[in-house]
């Protein structure tokens, strides 16, 4: 038997393991890698994390509920391209202007969220109504979503978003650009929803035992459908942020981010079996991946080392999950 206080301490460490690992990794890099220990570098890590962190929100919620969404990367690119085509001044952009100018911020945001929510709703229809496998449905959307991006843009890019939108990527608050704050606020908001509201509680219940949740009177189908729409909308938000950051969109925008999001979700402690996970943990997972990438860049190593290390990290994360479980069993 373990004393309650000691048990609480161990639980605290286990629950926030990824944050401890992040702290250790940052400390090691700060000592070992020249020029790593700077506010600018840390700010850069947070800025880099913006897009994968936003993508990971919806993915985490769906995995926690026992589903998955492979389409988020393409949805993100699609939303970015639609914003690019509508508001960018050159390339395939048609350069719409609004009066007053600042209206472009809410207008483009709503459009990006709507594009994402629409694809999410389509995924939800196939998975929830037609009972198709989520893996296949969202894989299809991953493929056609990217196809649509290329079709809409003709393979060309949209450039030069107006300054009324660009300021979000340039202006900083507490040394992070505003777009990074958008992803942090979105993560915290959904962390709150997951931990403190009935909606989040019911998602966990569905992920744990959908049959029991249904019997308890929870509207499982409705909740699942809403979560797919949220995942789409969050991918749309990531697309909006990415368009602002890159001042437009290219046909191959964000390729590979799906796998980074999956890696972050697993490293962040979300169980692929469903029912377990926290969004702040996932954010730490994203930061961890970005810190490693930054360290590799600073050391001047070739970029493919990043992939090697990140792949290894995913394996370690799953291994840690197993170890955590057996430690918890011993605590009881």
């Amino acid at each position: 038997m373990v004393s309650p206080r000691r048990r609480a301490a161990i639980e605290l460490v286990l629950d926030n393991l990824v944050w401890f690992i992040l702290a250790v990794v940052l400390a090691i890099f700060s000592i070992a890698v020249p020029n790593y220990f700077q506010i600018g570098i840390f700010a850069n890590i947070v800025e880099q994390s913006t897009f994968v962190a936003t993508l990971s929100i919806g993915l985490s919620l769906l995995i926690i509920a026992g589903y998955m969404d492979l389409s988020i990367e393409s949805v993100m690119a699609l939303a970015a391209m639609v914003v690019g085509i509508l508001f960018a001044k050159s390339g395939v952009g048609i350069g719409l202007t609004l009066d007053p100018e600042w209206l472009i911020v809410p207008a483009s945001l709503v459009i990006a969220l709507a594009v994402g929510a629409l694809v999410g709703a389509s995924n939800a229809f196939f998975v929830v109504r037609l009972r198709m496998n989520a893996f296949i449905v969202t894989l299809a959307a991953y493929i056609w979503g990217r196809g649509l991006v290329v079709a809409l843009s003709g393979g060309r890019s949209a450039q030069e978003l107006p300054p009324a939108l660009r300021f979000l990527a340039i202006e900083r608050f507490l040394s992070f650009p505003l777009i990074a704050w958008v992803s942090i606020v979105a993560t915290l908001a959904f962390a709150f929803i997951l931990n403190k509201t009935p909606f989040g509680r019911h998602l966990l219940l569905i992920g744990g035992n959908a049959q029991a949740a249904y019997r308890a009177g929870i509207n499982v189908d409705r909740l699942t459908a809403i979560t797919f729409v949220i995942a789409g909308a969050m991918a749309g938000l990531a697309g909006w942020l990415l368009a602002i950051r890159t001042s437009g969109a290219t046909a191959n925008l964000g390729v590979g981010m799906l796998f980074q999001a999956f890696a972050a979700v697993v490293i962040g402690g979300v169980s692929l079996k469903g029912g377990v996970g926290s969004l702040t943990g996932v954010y730490a997972g994203v930061l961890l991946l970005a810190s490693i990438q930054t360290a590799i860049n600073l050391m001047g190593l070739p970029a493919h080392f990043t992939q090697l290390i990140q792949g290894g990290m995913v394996l370690v994360a799953v291994l840690l999950d197993t170890v955590k479980l057996s430690i918890r069993k011993k605590l009881i």
Partner: protein, 264 residues
């Protein structure tokens, strides 16, 4: 016990494709009455319970509950009408703690700016009281259910139905994983619940349990009611013969028969 029937089943049928699981089941019960639903494996007991609890839709027949003709298309509707169900395979989410399971779908919330926020402390207090009242011991209410034993899990499920009550409780083999002492407590719980005027339908395979707790026995055989008797007016032998179908062949009502063929 009230005089108005709480639940009336009238010719309930259920087909799964070409298979007729229920071929017209009729019986009625009052609030405060404990009815044991007996029958061999595959007789259709669980199907009947699922129809009453909204888990399955019936193919035909009428169901009158609390004075109204009803038809539930989901467990949520049955629950809203006051029908609680304890299933054979437990309906717990092992990935969350005892409190979350106890309140599943009925969480206590407080609204801040219109956003419902879970009230964990209040829920924990209610759970602790309900579990203590029932005399169940669980190390920590914040433990995930996956770390609890089979008996503890079943106790949570039983405490849940006692707490939420409603008007009608359906129990499908509720004591399958319980020890002797816990089963005794479970049976007491059922009596306590019935004494509050709640109707109880319990499916069980164990004859002694049925005789201990039930006011009436309804035997289902091949999708039909093969017997509907008061516990005080029957014997285990008679019920067994109804379950196996021998009663139809024997001359009904002769106690001689029971004595000569009875092993006990």
């Amino acid at each position: 016990m009230s005089t108005e029937p709480l639940l009336v089943l009238d010719g309930i049928t259920k087909n799964f494709g070409a298979i007729e699981a229920l071929k017209g089941v009729s019986f009625s019960m009052r609030g405060g009455e404990v009815v044991a639903l007996l029958g061999d494996n595959g007789a259709g007991k669980s199907t009947l319970v699922k129809i009453i609890s909204g888990g399955l839709e019936r193919s035909g027949g009428r169901m009158v509950y609390d004075g109204r003709e009803i038809s539930f298309s989901s467990p949520a509707e049955a629950k809203a009408a006051g029908i609680e169900t304890v299933y054979q395979d437990l309906s717990l989410c092992t990935n969350v703690d005892v409190v979350a399971n106890f309140f599943m779908g009925r969480e206590i919330v407080k609204r801040f700016l219109g956003i419902p926020v879970l009230q964990e402390r209040a829920m924990e207090a209610v759970t602790a009281k309900a579990i203590a009242d029932a005399g169940t011991r669980i190390p920590s209410l914040r433990t995930n259910v996956e770390h609890l034993s089979g008996g503890q899990r079943q106790a949570i499920e039983l405490n849940r139905f006692v707490h939420w009550g409603g008007k009608l409780v359906l129990l499908d083999e509720p004591f399958a994983a319980l020890g002797v002492e816990q089963t005794r407590r479970g049976l007491d719980m059922i009596k306590k619940v019935a004494a509050q005027g709640i109707g109880v339908i319990i499916i069980t395979h164990i004859m002694t349990q049925a005789f201990q707790v039930a006011d009436r026995m309804v035997v289902i055989r091949q999708g039909q009611v093969a017997g509907d008797v008061r516990t005080a007016e029957t014997s285990a032998d008679e019920v067994v013969r109804m379950i196996t179908g021998e009663a139809a062949k024997a001359v009904p009502g002769t106690r001689e028969d029971a004595r000569t063929t009875g092993v006990a």
